[in-house]
Amino acid sequence: MKTTARVPSWADRLYGALLRTYPAPFREEYAGEMRAMFRSRWREERASRGVPGVTRLWLGLFLDTLRTAGREHGEMLGRDLRYAWRSLTSRPSWAFTAAALLTLALGIGAVTAIFTIVHAVLLAPLPYHGADRVVRGLARQLWPHGEDPVGRRVQLGNKQVFTIVGVVGDVRQLSLAEDPTPTMYISTSWFLWPTMTLVVRTQDEPTALAQEVRQTVTRLDPHQPVSDFQTMRTAVAGNAAAPRLNTVLVASFAVLALLLAVVGVAGVVGYGVGQRTREIAVRLALGSTPGRAVRHVLRGGLLMCATGILLGIGAALALGRALSSVLYGVGAYDPATFVVTTAVLFAIAILACWLPAQRVTRIEPSLTLRDG
């Protein structure tokens, strides 16, 4: 049927937008004919079935585009990945690729394992339930049925008997990293330690209290010197300084491992661009755009990164398992750390591929092909 109704410009533009979802090489080859076919179909449906026919045509076109454009992208990606794999594993670049993959896998494995420890030891809650109930450990140990300990008497190993005058919460006495141990506080009149620590609670600014505390102590005992006045906040921070330094060191190692992995990836992709300058020049001379050539190179790099990340996850699992056997409360598999680390590393890997791939845009086809 020969129909002459004019296709409205919005319909033409909408179908043009649908066509843009196809990969560029396919579009360049067939978009003109597909657009002509669309116009013919539109005129045909409009003339024979009116608006319902056109509506059905649009529905069919949307579904058809969704299905076929997706499949084209998938197939193009598959072809590029196969080509990238062949070029990565071909001589002489396979040794370089293997070294980069190893660096990447070890880097990712180490980073993930290290962050698993950081997360488990320093960020996550303590690995036992109801940590607050561990306090008052000694009283509970001696009177497990909940009797009131005040007024009761206990005898130590040296036959000394003491009367309990009160119960206090358990204290992390030596270090924040150590669990509270059952402890007894004994009057200084019985056992005098060379140094004593006086803890004063105040609602005002603690440093303003220093002078008053000194005067009070001097009034009680003029021969008692008072030194090392510090706030509780400073004392806690001082105690946490060593673990913090350890964390910084551990994180530094992780960043260093990551840096090595990134340098490895960037090196391999850059090397690949150098090796394929002539091939890329031919592609550019035959009409490929620099953007497409960059994407082509990027796919190879990303394939390598994806392989490295998979290997790295395997390495991280192995390292995690080894660590879980020596560190209490650290599991071999921490999903949150795995997901976050892998996502961050993949983003960095894309950047590591993208930067050297930009060299493609500086290739001058005429010069390269003439000099080659």
Partner: protein, 125 residues
């Protein structure tokens, strides 16, 4: 040209692929012509959309089952005087393409015979 055993590996063909090969079996046609021929042969039940048609054409070209007739472009007016689009390209079935269509037809015939023998043939009203 693909070898015979390679052609076997292409079976079963997707319906759109078989329709296109059949449409090209008796004449060279352009994309829209293929779509019209398929619609006519199936009494309007099958209308290939542009995406399905041209992605399938691309696969058939890659496998050497059809060829594009760039040489015939010059004589286009003689083939189809109503054709108003200069960009339309014509496609022709290759011997391999014909062979694949025959193999698929044999496969489908065998299936139909199987169904008939099992008494599954629809009653003729």
């Amino acid at each position: 040209m693909a070898l015979h055993e390679d052609l076997e590996s292409l079976l079963p063909l997707p319906p759109a692929t078989f329709h296109i090969l059949v449409a090209l079996s008796d004449a060279d046609r352009h994309g829209y012509g293929i779509m019209q021929e398929v619609a006519q042969r199936t009494a309007g039940r099958t209308k290939l959309n542009p995406g399905t048609l041209y992605t399938t054409i691309q696969r058939l070209l890659e496998r050497g089952l059809i060829v594009e007739l760039s040489a015939i472009r010059e004589g286009r007016e003689r083939r189809d005087p109503d054709d108003d689009d200069e960009r339309r390209r014509y496609y022709r079935l290759t011997p391999s393409g014909r062979r694949v269509a025959q193999l698929e037809l044999a496969r489908l015939t065998e299936l139909v015979a199987l169904g008939r023998r099992a008494g599954l043939a629809p009653e003729k009203g």
